[in-house]
């Protein structure tokens, strides 16, 4: 901490103000995301050399489609982790909403099924939020418990089987302008959460709560309400993901999204969001998703046994966090 900084100008000209307002705004967020983009580009170059069919429009759309469902869930997930919270129950909420929708649509109009899915997602999120903010159960424990509870409920509702859905393929398979609709929805969600994180008072509150919950409360920020809303939004995103997944597959299965929480957390952490809270961006998570997505895709193209994807994803997660710790230690930030 330097006290030898130049003393403040006594009369800031309006010119100085406008220049100062713009340029540094990005300075803080840039280094981490920039480093990630470099990793992504290196990955793309490597696979392009190894496999000529990698660098095609069709393959890129494949990758985007493959990460769309994970990505939709990972966006509110990013805000949750920035706020110092966690949602491990996303896979079960996604599966339950899909199964609930398909079951309801068996003898009701499709719209009813969709409404049921949205309501179930919101309720599941609200229950998570209630347990965390009102009862005060740790978010990790709450959502781990809910992961099991809701997974069980999904199996009960579906009687352990897949439930088929008729005439519901548009959401998952339509291709406006040649781009799969799930990709369009996913990119829309990314834009929405980028905007919320950067340009809303809600987003500011999320960062403040994650950075220092006590200080946030003392500054008059409604911490509980904000966290509650984040969990509900996470539940709603899972409902959207559950609908897309059901539509893509033409049926809903209670095991459709197993392991989703791992992919979500991997992408978020890889994307530069710190688990200690107060830092991270939706765009960073997008880059994290792309890194994982292209890695899995490249491995498949090269004919590597798909089981290795699990190994690669886990190693990537641990590697990214280790790298972050080392970087902090060497730049002196991480010392207490």
């Amino acid at each position: 901490m330097s006290t030898a900084a130049p003393s403040s100008p006594m009369d800031p000209s309006s010119e100085a103000m406008t220049t100062e307002v713009r340029s540094p705004a990005r300075r803080r967020a840039t280094p981490k995301v920039a480093a990630l983009v470099v990793v992504l580009i290196a990955e793309l170059v490597t696979f392009s050399i190894l496999a000529p069919e990698f660098l095609t429009r069709a393959n890129f759309l494949n990758v985007l489609t493959a990460i769309a469902v994970t990505g939709i869930v990972a966006m509110p997930g990013t805000l949750l982790i920035i706020a110092g919270q966690f949602d491990l129950s996303v896979a079960s909420i996604t599966a339950l909403t899909g199964v609930a929708m398909a079951t309801a649509a068996e003898n009701q109009p499709l719209v009813v099924g969709i409404v049921v899915a949205v309501v179930v997602g919101a309720l599941a999120g609200a229950l998570n939020g209630f347990l965390v903010t009102v009862i005060g159960v740790n978010a990790l424990i709450t959502t781990l418990g809910m992961l099991s509870v809701l997974s069980g409920l999904a199996r009960v509702v579906a009687e352990g089987l897949s439930v088929g859905v008729q005439d519901f393929s548009t959401l998952g398979t339509a291709r406006p302008f040649g781009v799969p609709l799930p990709v369009v929805v996913f990119l829309g969600v990314v834009l929405l959460f980028t905007f919320v994180g950067r340009f809303t008072t809600f987003g500011r509150s999320v960062y403040a709560i994650g950075s220092n919950p006590t200080a946030a409360r003392l500054a008059g920020i409604k911490t509980r309400r904000t966290i509650m809303m984040l969990f509900v939004v996470s539940g709603l995103a899972c409902a959207l993901a559950g609908l897309i997944l059901t539509s893509m597959l033409g049926s809903a299965s209670p095991t459709a999204a197993v392991g989703l929480e791992l992919s979500v957390v991997t992408a978020i952490v890889l994307g530069g969001t710190t688990l200690s809270g107060g830092e991270g961006t939706a765009l960073g998570t997008l880059v994290g998703l792309l890194i994982v997505g292209f890695l899995n895709n490249g491995l498949i193209i090269k004919g590597v046994d798909p089981f290795w994807q699990y190994v690669a994803q886990g190693a990537l997660l641990i590697g990214a966090v280790s790298f972050d710790r080392l970087r902090e230690r060497f730049s002196g930030e991480g010392r207490q």
Binding site: M17, E20, V21, R198, R204, I221, G278
Partner: protein
Amino acid sequence: MSDTATVEVTGITKSFSGVEVLHDVDLVATAGSVLALLGENGAGKSTLMKILVGDHAPDAGRVTFAGRDITGATPSIARDIGIRMVFQELSDAPPLSVTENICLGRWPTRRGRVDWRNARRQAVAVLDSLGSDIDPDRAVGSLRIGERQIVEIARALLGKTRCLILDEPTAALSASESELLFETIRRLREAGVAIIYITHRLDEVQRIANRVQVLRDGASVLEGPVANYGRAALVEAMVGRNVDSTQRPATFERSDTTPVMRLRDLASDRAFADVSLELRPGEILALYGRVGAGTQEVAETIYGVRKVDSGTIEIAGQPVAISGPADAIRRGIGLLPGDRQREGAFMNRSVAENLCAASWRALSRRGVITRSKEAVAYLRWHDRLRIRSRDDPQQTITTLSGGNQQKVLLGRWLERDVRVLLLVEPTRGVDVGAREEIYRAMRALTERGLAVLVATSDHEEVVQLADRAMIMVRGRIVRELRGDQITASDVVSAAGGLP
């Protein structure tokens, strides 16, 4: 135990990151005698004691015990030779039982297993010697603070204690508990233990100490038999001769205006009771007291962080029930917390976000806010509060020095335009230059009608800042000082008495 159990410290010097906190200090604690160690906050008492028990190594100087050089001994060596300290803050393990706490780390064992029956017997014996009948099987967390303090003392007395250091042990004790402690101290003294007793209570010094020593700004300024010094001499040694001539600002008597806030017989938990005061626009009222006297708790209660047990808070003549910080802010009250890092700042966020955190709604339109709006707000206060750093609103707040961080947090309430500002230890850990600037900013703001309540344990702050001062001891207001009555010696003296 013999007369040789004397602790001697010679020529101790110690610096932390370039700042000298102890300079060439000598101290002798004789076996069978009580040495009272006095000094204001930051005088160096704690650092000196931490060197004695091996928590810190001195930069220069020697520590000897019974003639043996123990400079740089580790805490466990110091423990083993019988130098024990009871810290002011509780360092117990709340979920464990009284017995477990007393024997913590020194379990009596039999064939490699903990001998619980023996442990319990030892705990009961040492509690008995303290005249305490605390149940040895109860969880420490369920005891009253005073009882927990006694458990801490019992822990220090387990085994052979040859030098006992007590850091403000009566701060949390009731009068009768204090009496028992004094009795124990006398008994230990007669048994030949060397006792160092850190306190702010001048009446306690006269009662139990044989010798007295005063530290000021890291140096020893007075040392001798207690009988040689009166109260006034001790106070003067603690605060220094020059402080009384500290420049005081012109005092504003604001009895003409109506109070913006009024407390009537306010009480909260065990922290304080019967607190009544009025705060008028344009006035700086200091609430002065030692740590634990309840000043900070009064501020927190007004802010809705603690619950009101009895009494009322009136804002603009209306009794109000403040439900929490958000509610307090809505009513025009802001609080600058005492612990900047833990309660005030968002350490990994920008200075602009830190400054605007209470004003986001006002700066936004339909929930949408831009960095440039925040930046403009920040730069306004950057200049008026003379925040000394680059005028970059997006730099993280950690790039600023402590004093400048504090200015940013002060700016949070000025941007919010509160009517009542509660400051808790506003210049703790703030360098002298920034302190002056914070004081100047406070005065400029009060001229525009802001009402300020400062909860502080720094007497110089009271002298330099306050129009009016109320002195608290053990949760009660004992004295009110106005204008020229506010001198360092009067402030310190009033806080050193009994309620």
